[in-house]
């Protein structure tokens, strides 16, 4: 299985916004909401006096959003991408609060949370994520980091990488910056509203109870096979064709 990764050379960025609009159009993100961004920071090293740092979900290896989700609607996939199951997402916002990068938003029409998934919906078309493909400065490199011949693997092997991480809430981001970047410690501390934290405890309890019941059913099943509970166990259950069953 590929392991997707993105590397960003922020020194090339001039904040044209192509990555933002391209992403919105590819992924039906309403204008005004964003899966990605460009940070602007004062920086005397640049002629403009400002440096730009493009970003998006850092596809962290220790994602606090995953920990925060009460319904297990978000998880880190084996392909290196942190994904969301919109069927399970209840839009509670716990992951939004937990993400130190503010990489998630609640979709105003769907009510569920949305974030960068490296344009998973169009990957089968053989095209790079929108922000990679449309960037006029070729700031971003994307690919399978597990393939040593890929550009992304080669850059990772040959260049110094910089990680942008919250000092208070480290998350092991997999997205990295090539060489130096403007500011590295801007991500905030993760936060989790207390009702949602409580919900996580309840949800965990419910999960354990569910597992216990499942264990009971399985145990009963084996018991029935090994030690049938009565001699009528082989009796037939008659089911009329109408579909209206009779009690045995």
């Amino acid at each position: 299985m590929p392991r997707y990764r993105m590397l960003i050379d922020s020194n090339k960025c001039y904040n044209c916004g192509a990555c933002i609009v391209g992403c919105q159009q590819r992924n039906s993100v309403p204008y005004g909401y964003r899966r990605n961004w460009v940070r602007v920071d004062a920086d005397p090293d640049y002629g403009f006096g400002k440096g730009f740092q493009p970003g998006g979900c850092m596809q962290c290896d220790a994602p606090l959003c995953v920990e925060a989700c009460p319904t297990q609607a978000t998880w880190k996939g084996d392909d290196g991408v942190v994904l969301i199951d919109v069927q399970r997402c209840i839009g509670c916002g716990a992951c939004i609060a937990a993400c130190p990068y503010d990489a998630r938003y609640r979709h105003p029409e769907r009510g569920t949370v949305d974030k960068c998934d490296y344009c998973a919906s169009s990957r089968h078309l053989g095209i790079a994520p929108a922000c990679v493909q449309l960037c006029p400065a070729q700031v971003r490199t994307f690919g399978d980091a597990s393939d040593p011949s890929s550009e992304v693997a080669q850059i990772a092997a040959q260049q110094t990488l910089t990680y942008v991480e919250s000092p208070q809430s480290p998350t092991k981001p997999s997205l990295a910056f090539v060489g130096a970047t403007t500011v590295t410690n801007w991500p905030r501390a993760a936060a989790l509203p207390s009702p949602i934290a409580a919900m996580r405890v309840v949800a965990t309890g419910v999960r354990y109870l569910g597992a216990l019941s499942l264990f009971g059913v399985i145990a009963m099943f084996f018991k029935q096979i090994l030690i049938p509970s009565d001699d009528k166990s082989g009796a037939e259950i008659h089911t009329p064709a109408s579909g209206k069953g009779e009690k045995p």
Binding site: A18, W75, V86, D117, L134, E236, I237
Partner: protein, 718 residues
Amino acid sequence: MSSKVSRRTFMKAGAAAVGALTCLRPLSPALGANSATPGIDYERVHGYCPFCQTRCTFTAFKKNGKAEFLVGKDGNRWTAGGMCPKGMSFLELADSPHRLTRPMLKTASGWQNISYDEAIALTVEKLQEARRRHGNEIARHLALTAPLWDCRESELAALITMRFAGCINIMPPGEVCISTASSTLNTLLGSGNSTTTVDEVENAELLVLWGANISETYPPYTRWLEKAKAKGVRIILLDCRRTRTSNFVDRQLRIAPGTDGALALGFVNQIIQDGSYDKAYVAENTNNFNALVKDASPWTLAQVAAATDLAEEDIIRFYRELMNSRRTMMWLGGSLSRYSNGMATVRAIIAMQVLCNQIMGSGKGLLTMESGKPEGEKEFVDHICGRAPAGVNFRRLRIAMDRNEIDVLFLNSSYRRYPDCDGLKETLKKVNFVIHRGFFKTEELEVAHLFVPATFTLESQGSHYGAEKQVVWRDKCQNAPGDCVPDWQFYRDIGRRLEPEKYPRFETPSELATLFSNTLPDWKGITVDRLRKSPSGLVGPIPAINGPELLGCIFRDGKFRTPDGKFDFLLKAVGPIIWTPPKGAPKDKDGDPKNFPLTFIQGKILTQWQQTITNFAASLAQFSNGRYVQVHPETASQCGVKHGETAYLVTAFGKVEARIEASEDITPGVVFTPSHFLGTSPYPATNSPPINSILPNYWDRISAQFNGLGCMLQPMKG
């Protein structure tokens, strides 16, 4: 019939189901992940952005009859697949709820929808009526303003129709901004385009971005700055503002707006004085050198420093870098043309390059993004319609309109692109019949009698051209809504009714493009088939089928494209190169430094295109926050205005409200505001009265130019 299931079987099946569910559970997120229908394929349709001369090409991914998203063409050698947000806004604009999709006729009771056929019939009737009234004098009574928002075939169809209608007054699209550079290049060098292709910057030693704010105005071309830098090319930017482009240069000279000509003449003077110009080259390839000696002689170092506000040591260093460079390229920004002294400036810069033998050869020459139009259009129209004299420019047309002399005006794009647009609005009301082609409710509806909705780029096929003289092709991706029709169809349908026998027969732009390439020898190799296959477009001329594209310097025989093959320092029709401050500037004789001590400049910003379409895009409005003026904090404080507050930007001709953006990115004493806003935008972020309502109707010899004007900032209260 009844089915029978034993209890044991039931237990087994139940357990299997539970087991299966248990096994499947870890996979379920992947199945229900946040993805659009995986496996669905899309139809792919070629396209290009019709806005700037970068002319980005893309593939539109189409599903259910509509483009869903765009992907830049990686194989485009000029852009490498990049685009800017403006080009992408078409996806949204095509579906905009604000779009007008029916022809409308202005009546005593307001606008009324009419059919497309009625609109065509009415237009033809108005043209025929004018012909009956004016007979052979008809040419003086009809006009068309460009640009058309469509393709080259639309331009051709419109030009042919206008000729058949008797109209020769075609207002060029760049007449309010960049025509000066293009016309000057054309007159002096014999080509109104860049003298080479942009890839040559990698072969230069020195690249001067002369007012060329590449990263802001032609974003994908920033890659050429990076490529040049990677090859060790030194890049110097001349601009009074620090912008995104500043991040990609080695050094910036923050020259006072509109004083570039003085800096250029100072260099000319210096190398003539110290004899370091290429004497042999000048002797062999130029005329009237002595005229240049005279023109440049007043420009001593002290004079240049006084005019440009640059320190003498910075000027000396710049001149030295120019003299030491064996291969220098100058990238002429559109901003140079936007002052009334633009022609003198462009002439002086070209003279610098000629004196140093820096025009011809690899890594040398002049770049401009302001043209790129391949030759042949006029010949083609002449071939079909017969030769015709040139028409008037907009300055004269306005006078004619004021005298009630214009019967029919085809108003494409906006009148607000011309200065003194409020005065112009009243003038336009004197035209008997104004047909406006557009997309949205804009101020043009106030002066138009008939509105016929046009199409966006995805809705019709056709070709276009870019800064490298490359011709690109697009196919039709989706149907236009309502009665919106492309320009080629609109003008063809009028032309066919006017001259059914003579009007060329074509049903699609492809047929017209084929007729064009079959007619003009230099276009033989630029076929629609070949264009379709080329992600970069084809750089003309290509006289042979399957012939090669010719990149690099256009002067392949080492001669200028002038009648005698030489460069003339004296432009007889214009006179000597006399540099004076821009008209109406605080330092100009017509200026009023007491009341208007600040220097006004306006221009494009990255996320908007001119004063029309893009203001209606939510995708672009998200980057804006209403009209603003950028001003240095010292200047703001001198004017009594503060960062973030709303104030008046005032000229001798009016005032507009604007938010103050105090920033050291602009030199003290200068005020910048973007040019794109319009008063009917549905988004507050892009809604503001047009800037041209407070700018005077100043012209150089070629086009309307008003940057450099004196202005003032006034607090709202008191």
